[in-house]
Symmetry: C2
């Protein structure tokens, strides 16, 4: 087990020193000195090899994605990510693998000024659990439960590309080689919407990050907020690659039910709509209004303002 202790050295060369971290890696605990008038947000996500990513995923992508899915949760609260703890379970010590994994972790940490404050390395089947923490001004954060009926429904970016990449890997869909490189990159190196989250914090009534798929995650907002919602299918932001690779109905299906997008889904009141769109536009962040919440207890879909029923079981969700 000695060699597992040695792994620790890989994690001490990290690039970031966060001002609130008094004591970082190396003791029984890290020590944080929180700044006054702030809230701290905390999230934990586990990625298991073969469940949350294909077994042949590159170690750099695994490192990146492990951090990204957690920062995506931080972003959905409107918080700024600050520090993470990393629990890494590995079948064996492979220095090349570890170096690449660490590069994936640290590149993203450096980009968002996130400090690795500690963790644990153990022997076992490959899995990664990260606990990420972030900060917001006191009493200023987004939840899933703040939507009111009549709020507008928005998503950042485009939906379905990561799921398309997975379907290609499973052999269910043909994707042209250059296009596959592009969407595989979206699957392996998702970009958490950290800036968008902090901008919409001032305007949105509720938010969630898209990890399970649009309909499933919208369901979480609806349930927590006690509202229903309608999605205008013709408004769904689909990439050119997704449109070119599938029939439009299958493309919509994937945008509705495919997971791993790590975009933000959020609601905004009529009063805040213009302010929100202006603020995001100034930051160069592309968002799309895809529908509206309502007083029903269901999620419905329309196409050209006509009610349609979409079967979202056409593709099996990898996770």
């Amino acid at each position: 087990m000695k060699e597992f202790d040695l792994i620790k050295h890989f994690f001490t060369k990290q690039p970031v020193k966060h001002k609130e971290v008094v004591l970082g890696i190396g003791d029984d605990c890290a020590v944080i000195a929180p700044i006054e008038n702030q809230n701290i947000v905390v999230t934990t996500d586990t990625l298991v090899a073969g469940v949350h990513f294909p077994l042949d995923t590159s170690p750099r992508a695994i490192g990146h994605k492990s951090v990204a899915v957690n920062l995506s949760d931080i972003a959905a609260m409107g918080a700024a990510p600050s520090w993470i703890s990393l629990a890494l379970t590995l079948p064996e010590v492979d220095e090349i693998w570890l170096k690449e994994f660490c590069a994936g972790v640290f590149d993203l940490c450096e980009f968002y000024n996130v400090e690795l404050i500690g963790g644990d390395t153990t022997q076992g089947p490959l899995s990664i659990t990260i606990t990420a923490q972030g900060v917001t001004p006191k009493d200023s954060y987004l939840t899933r439960s703040g939507a009111s009926k009549g709020d507008w429904l928005y998503v950042t970016g485009e939906l379905g590309d990561a799921a398309l990449a997975l379907q290609h890997i499973f052999g269910n869909v043909e994707v042209e080689s250059n296009n596959f490189t592009t969407i595989k990159n979206k699957l392996d190196f998702p970009k958490p919407r950290v800036l968008a989250g902090q901008i919409i914090r001032e305007y949105a009534s509720s938010a969630i990050d898209l990890s399970d798929g649009l309909v499933a995650d919208l369901g979480h907002i609806c349930q927590a907020s006690n509202v229903g919602a309608n999605i205008a299918l013709d408004a769904l932001p689909l990439s050119v690659i997704l449109r070119d690779s599938l029939l439009i109905e299958d493309a919509m299906n994937l945008a509705l039910s495919g997971g791993d997008d790590y975009e933000l889904l959020f609601t905004v009141s009529e009063d805040n709509k213009i302010g929100l769109e202006t603020a995001l536009s100034h930051a160069g962040i592309s968002v799309t209004c895809i529908g509206q919440t309502n007083a029903s207890q269901t999620i419905s879909t329309t196409l050209n303002n006509k009610s349609v029923t979409i079967k979202t079981t056409g593709f099996e969700h990898f996770a």
Copy 2:
């Protein structure tokens, strides 16, 4: 994967509501409102089935131990445990197993007023990662690095019983049946030294919790503090069961190198020795002075004030 979402319901019936937790389980993140003039300490520990506990360990013990090993790290900093995040990876959903596991987690959380604020449940080989957090008054916490040469070396409780239980399980040692029940309980249900940690915070110069074994963990203090240390073997606190089950040399060996004790090891200056002993005695906490730090760069052992060499490889460490 739906049934794994259902697991969440097991974790919503938790007993504790911590005053600093503004938003608990159920959103993308939990939200903490830290009290002024406090530090927050953070630790993460993973237990992997078959590596950190025998495969046939009861789910209640696994739940208890997963929390206990983390609270032990919090205790070693002199902090009060406050909230935890739980990442549980399970091969399958077994309601009876989960109910027992949760009982183990929640009984300990309730005892120490610790709130479960979130986590993740995933499918895969059984493993548990907990991130525990605690609070201390600002700038008041213990580390591994504060020992000076000439400080006295103390441990709480008795050493080696958990390791003896493991050796019996492995068939290496005979232990009488009633005695085995007692020490198996120490292995499965370690009691983190939460109160002791907060008391010694005012007196100790350094501290660590004993998870890897006395010599290994003392090594961490010595390395971080740049001191050496001598252990007086005749002072080692050995239980009657340990003395009765083994030759004295083997008993000492297990106390030196066996892991899983989850007692605290700490150093205290000559000036603080009486104050510390008095404070702990008032709280009914048994501690033993087992040696002293020195200016060497090594860990030595003496028996009746005579230098002896102990082979600490007689028993293989399970973890």
